[in-house]
Symmetry: C2
Subunit: 379 residues, 2 copies
Amino acid sequence: MEQKSSKSLQKLSELHRQHRGLINIMPLQTGGMLTEAAKKALIEFGDGYSVCDFCLGSLCDITNPPVREFVHELLPQFLGCEVATLTYGARDGIFMVMHSLAKPGDSIVVDGNRHYTTVVAAERAGLNVIEVASSGYPEFRIDVNDYIPLIEKHTPKLILLTYPDGNYGNIPNAKRLGEIAQEYDIPYIVNGAYAVGRMPVSMRELGADFIIGSGHKSMASAGPCGVLGMKKKWEEIVLRKSGTYSNKEVELLGCTLRGVPLITLMASFPYVKERIDHWNEQVSKAQWFSGELEKLGFHQLGEKPHRHDLLHFETPTFYDISKHVRERGYFLYKELKERGIWGPQPGLTKAFKLSTFAANQEQLKFVINSFNAILSKYS
Amino acid sequence: MEQKSSKSLQKLSELHRQHRGLINIMPLQTGGMLTEAAKKALIEFGDGYSVCDFCLGSLCDITNPPVREFVHELLPQFLGCEVATLTYGARDGIFMVMHSLAKPGDSIVVDGNRHYTTVVAAERAGLNVIEVASSGYPEFRIDVNDYIPLIEKHTPKLILLTYPDGNYGNIPNAKRLGEIAQEYDIPYIVNGAYAVGRMPVSMRELGADFIIGSGHKSMASAGPCGVLGMKKKWEEIVLRKSGTYSNKEVELLGCTLRGVPLITLMASFPYVKERIDHWNEQVSKAQWFSGELEKLGFHQLGEKPHRHDLLHFETPTFYDISKHVRERGYFLYKELKERGIWGPQPGLTKAFKLSTFAANQEQLKFVINSFNAILSKYS
């Protein structure tokens, strides 16, 4: 026991990341890779609570580093909202809103492509989740007009749309749902975990009440880290202050990001703000990449033509190979890793998700050629 | 507007920490300073979601990096508990337990020295907070026997003790409260945000049901980051799985620390585990320091002799000076900073908290001499 424990401790003092420096096409990670400014800030503010040197009681009001300006000026402008705050991540922002606006037993209507955490957050808040079905295989489109009959039937306290979803990268008509939300006067959350920080998105233009962003998913930040934007009218409900401590928000338990992920979010922000202007190039790159992979016999699921870097492919040829090789499903991960590529979840061969967001065209060409070479090797 | 915004963005790309490298006696920070191993890990795992390369659906079960072993073997052993999990910090662990074990309208009994977040977490969970009064000025001691009449009167769903508290660094008789909790069969939370990682503490020995630790406060970690230990019997309540997603814990919204603070917690752990063995030296150092400052006319609040590095002093002489100088209360912060010392919150002179945990005796001698020199300069 003692010996095992000392071996375990030894391991902890030598933590290495196997995938560091590889071509990254792993959808969870391509939007969260740090900028050089963020890497420097990591060291500068790494120590616990070092963000809070000049705190006067409220994280979002710290002026050095300039959290106040970031949260109260830059973020609202960026999100197209009136009030913004910091969260631990998209799921935490969603829970905060649910917990503030709905009571146990209430219903909410969400898209069928929602992230699993939407369901878990609703469960934590005691809410009934009603889902708008997608069009199913192979495109899995959400028609936001399908919210209408469910709204009429269930009178939900909230509606939520995942924009885009994390499974297919589909971009539903969030603006039309904004009109529906307004017509029925129901608070409307846009979960933009894969939008905010990658592509232009404005809460105001979509007609939403809340917009959710993820720092580690799409804003070039360390995790856990997220942003929540809202209309001014929700501030006193979602950001209500404690009855005992008048400068502490109840849903934030006083403060959230009291640490270095916030600093990386801030340090990367100028770059993130700029990169969304190149979204059209990102979409072209994704479409080209998808087309090339389809030539190899892959089949892209989700909307076509695709409008996001997150792509889901069926890859029956890899699956066939996996049935006959010693490593089974892991052969693909191993082959790609040997070529310096990190993408499909280890073990998957039948279908997997990729993201073209962080790789340039040359790297993606190398990925395409590598897939081709692996297919040839085993055929 | 455009010009202002570009200036704001410029600031974000050059974030510097003024207090980096100073002698740190700031109580929020002395236990959260990173080890060299943690600093290396920061860079290695800085990118968003890089902890999750080999996730199979549950953060605490990731084997590379060895999160699983850390959470399921090392942490329970370290905390003296049966089951452990990861949280965003102490406040988040406390809320999780409250939200799982109590319903809106229920009562809880807590010590009068509790952190503000205990009250805010209870408010978020809709609970009534009943406080056990301390002995008041100057020692502010909590007599845990005072829980008994309040338990009998209010039949609380939970009791909580802050061990030690963050205002005076008092160490109440947590073990005796464990006996009381058992006698009345009430779940008992020890908030060890200033204990776990600094001093030896065992949930089992204290007879508690839950133990709370803070990574950024006392475990040499980046924030936000914490740990929660519990008896096995609470696992299926606090760590209950989603009805829809059988591998996702509802109170954790699936996963919590999906980012680099977890890696710093793990990388620093071997050092943290070792440093608690030197707790007696820490206590001696704190007592010596307190004695020296009292010779300068400071008055230590809280228990005497003191048994923790967190010390609260009344400093009437500094307050008198502040009334006559141009910088008012900020003169002390400025004088100390010029001498390379970071401790009392900027603006405070009447009373402030210090921690001797991270400074060695030589550095503390320099602090004492500096206080003395500042007093002489203005007298």
